[in-house]
Point group: C2
C-alpha cells in the first residue's frame, strides 16, 4: 500500500465485458497495464453497465463475461495487489455522477461528439439511438472523474471522449467554485491497433478475425494458417511485400528476436522465403506467448470463488474512492441534508 | 402500518423544491394528498435532483427549499405517519434506474415528448437543451417505477410523461420476461389549475402572481386587493362578469358557504354589487384558510431538527422500497455478481 500512495498519477482503464479478450487487447492495452501497475495507481473497470448501452438485448452475455474478462486480466499478469479491478455496476455512485453531469452538457454537444457520431454510424442507429448511447460520454466522464484519474489510456479515436470529460470537469469546478474534480490526459499507446488475422484494420470479435488469449494450441495453429500475408506472393521465389502483411505485423509485435526477424524480412522482400516458413515462426511466437497465459487462465478458472473474492475486494476499494468524490460533488450541489 | 398494507393503490407525487408552495399547489395537489393519504399508500418526493435539471446555476436555492417545502407539507396536514415524505437525491437507486432505463428509450422518442417540447419552448433552450433536461422523463419513469406506483397525480399536460413511463415499464418487463415493473395511471385532479391573482392561467412564483401558504395577514390583504376581477365592471350598478373573474374563481375554490356565494354571483351579474364587497368576502375566506396553515408552519419551523428527522425516516423507508425494485431490475439485467 505504501508504494501505491507514493504514485502521483492515477490511471482509469477497463473493458466492456462482452467477450473474451484477444491479442488486440493484449497489444493495445493489457501489456501496458502490466507495466503501468508498477508506475501508477491503476483502477481497472469491468464496464458491465456501459456494455448494456448496446447489449440490452443480451444482458446474460455481459454478465458471463465479467468473470471471463477478469480471468484474462489475471492470466496476463495484472496483479490485484497492484491494480484495483472492479465492477462498474456495483458502484451506484457512478450513476449518481452521470445523472448530475447530464445537466452540464447539452444535447447538441453530445451529438457533435465525433466518436459517438462514428459509433452511431457503425451500429446503424441513425435516429433510433438509445438515449443511453448518446449520453455514454457523460457516463465515461463520471467514471474517470469519480476516481480523479489523471491518465486514461485510449486509442486516437477516443480522444474526443477525454475532451468531453475535461469540459464537464471544468464546468463543474467553475459551478462549485472549487477544484473538486480533476482534469485527465489521454494516454495514447505507442503501438497502434493490431489488425485482424484477415487483414482488416481492427481485430474484433464481431469480425471473427481474432486470436483469443485463451486460445488452444490448435486454435492458434488454425488462426496462423488463415493469417493474411501478401496476396501477390504466389511463388516462393517471388519478392514479397511487408506492407499490409499481417504475419509480419504480428511478428513485429511478438517476436522478441528482432535480429532474426530483420533477416527474415529482408529475405522475404528479395524473394526465396515462403509464407509457410514465416507462419511457422509466427506460430512459435504465438504459442510461446499464449501458452503460459492459457495455462494460468485455466488454473484460475478452477477457483471461481477466488476470482469473485478479488472482484469483491477491488469493487469495495473502488467504491470508497468513488463515494468520496460523489460526496464532494453532492455537497457542492447542495444535496446533503442529513 | 396494518392499514397501510391494506391499501391497494400506491401514489407517487411530489414537488421540485424551488420555492415556497402557494394556493395553486394547495388546490391542485396538496389538498388531494391530505385526502389520498387515508385511501392510498402515498410517497411524496422532494425532487431536489430533478430540480437541478434547470437550476444548476443556483443549487443553494434548491437545497434551502427542501425543508421549506416539507414545512408546507406538514402545515397543510400531510401526516408523516400516513404519507412517506422523502428526498430524491438521497436515494441513489433512482439514478441507477435512470441510467439503465436510458437504454430503453431513443433520443427521437424523447424529442417527440410534447411536455418536453413545450418546456423547452418556455425555457428558450432550443438547441442548447441540457441532456439532463431532455432525459428527465426517464428519471421520472425511474421514480415512479422504483416505488411501483399505480397512481400518479398529474395535470392534463403531464399525461405524456405517464405514457413515457409505461412504455419503459412495458419494454423492461418484455426484456426481463417477467412482470417486475408496474404500469401506472395518471390521476388528473377534478379541479383544474388555479389562475394567478393577475388573471394569468397559472399561479406561478416566477410570474409573481401567487399567494403563498405561509403568507402573512397583510400579504393576503394586499394580494386580494390586486386580484383581477372584471375590467368592464366600472361602476357598482353595472352588471359584472364572472368569466375570467379571478376573485370569483377563488371564491368557487375556497368559499365553503356555497349558498351565499351563489347569491353573491347573481347579485354581481345583475349589477349593484361592488368588487370591494366581493374581495372582502374573498379575503375572509383566504385569511381563514391560511391562518392555521401559517401558524402550524411557524410552530414547526421552530424545530428544524424535527423536520429533518421526519425527512430522514421517510427517506430511509422510501429507500428500502426503491432498493428492492432496483435489486430486481439489476438481477434481471445480469448485474448481480456477489
Amino acid at each position: 500500500m505504501s508504494t501505491q500512495e507514493n504514485k502521483t498519477h492515477l490511471i482509469l482503464t477497463g473493458d466492456r465485458p462482452t467477450g473474451p479478450l484477444h491479442l488486440g487487447h493484449y497489444v493495445g492495452s493489457l501489456s501496458n497495464r502490466v507495466k503501468f501497475q508498477h508506475q501508477y495507481k491503476q483502477f481497472i473497470m469491468l464496464a458491465d453497465a456501459q456494455a448494456l448501452t448496446d447489449n440490452m438485448d443480451d444482458p446474460g452475455k455481459v454478465h458471463r463475461n465479467v468473470v471471463e474478462v477478469a480471468l484474462d486480466y489475471l492470466a496476463v499478469g495484472i496483479d490485484p495487489k497492484l491494480s484495483t479491478i472492479f465492477i462498474q455496476s456495483q458502484i451506484p455512485e457512478l450513476t449518481e455522477l452521470t445523472f448530475y453531469y447530464l445537466n452540464l452538457v447539452t444535447v447538441a454537444r453530445l451529438e457533435r461528439n465525433p466518436t459517438i457520431k462514428e459509433e452511431i454510424r457503425l451500429r446503424n442507429f441513425e435516429r433510433d439511438i438509445p438515449a443511453g448511447f448518446l449520453t455514454y460520454p457523460v457516463s465515461q466522464a463520471a467514471d474517470i472523474s469519480a476516481f480523479k484519474a489523471t491518465l486514461v489510456p485510449v486509442g486516437e479515436d477516443q480522444i474526443p471522449m477525454i475532451e468531453q470529460t475535461n469540459e464537464i470537469v471544468r464546468r463543474f469546478n467553475r459551478l462549485a467554485n472549487q477544484e473538486i474534480l480533476v482534469e485527465c490526459q489521454a494516454l495514447v499507446p505507442e503501438i497502434g491497433r493490431l489488425p485482424g488475422i484477415d487483414g482488416k484494420a481492427k481485430m474484433s470479435k464481431s469480425l471473427g478475425n481474432v486470436i483469443n488469449l485463451g486460445a488452444t494450441e490448435s486454435e492458434i495453429r488454425a488462426a496462423v494458417k488463415k493469417t493474411y500475408t501478401d496476396p501477390l506472393h504466389l511463388r516462393i521465389e517471388d519478392p514479397g511485400h511487408l506492407e499490409g502483411n499481417v504475419a509480419f505485423t504480428y511478428l513485429d509485435a511478438f517476436d522478441q528476436d528482432k535480429e532474426s526477424l530483420a533477416e527474415m524480412k529482408a529475405h522475404y522482400v528479395r524473394g526465396g522465403l515462403g509464407d509457410g516458413t514465416v507462419k511457422k515462426r509466427l506460430e512459435e511466437c504465438l504459442q510461446e506467448l499464449i501458452r503460459p497465459i492459457r495455462e494460468r487462465r485455466a488454473a484460475l478458472a478452477q477457483d471461481r470463488g477466488y476470482i469473485i473474492q478479488i472482484l469483491k475486494e477491488g469493487t469495495e476499494k473502488a467504491r470508497e474512492v468513488a463515494a468520496r468524490t460523489t460526496s464532494e460533488v453532492k455537497t457542492a450541489l447542495g444535496l446533503k441534508h442529513f
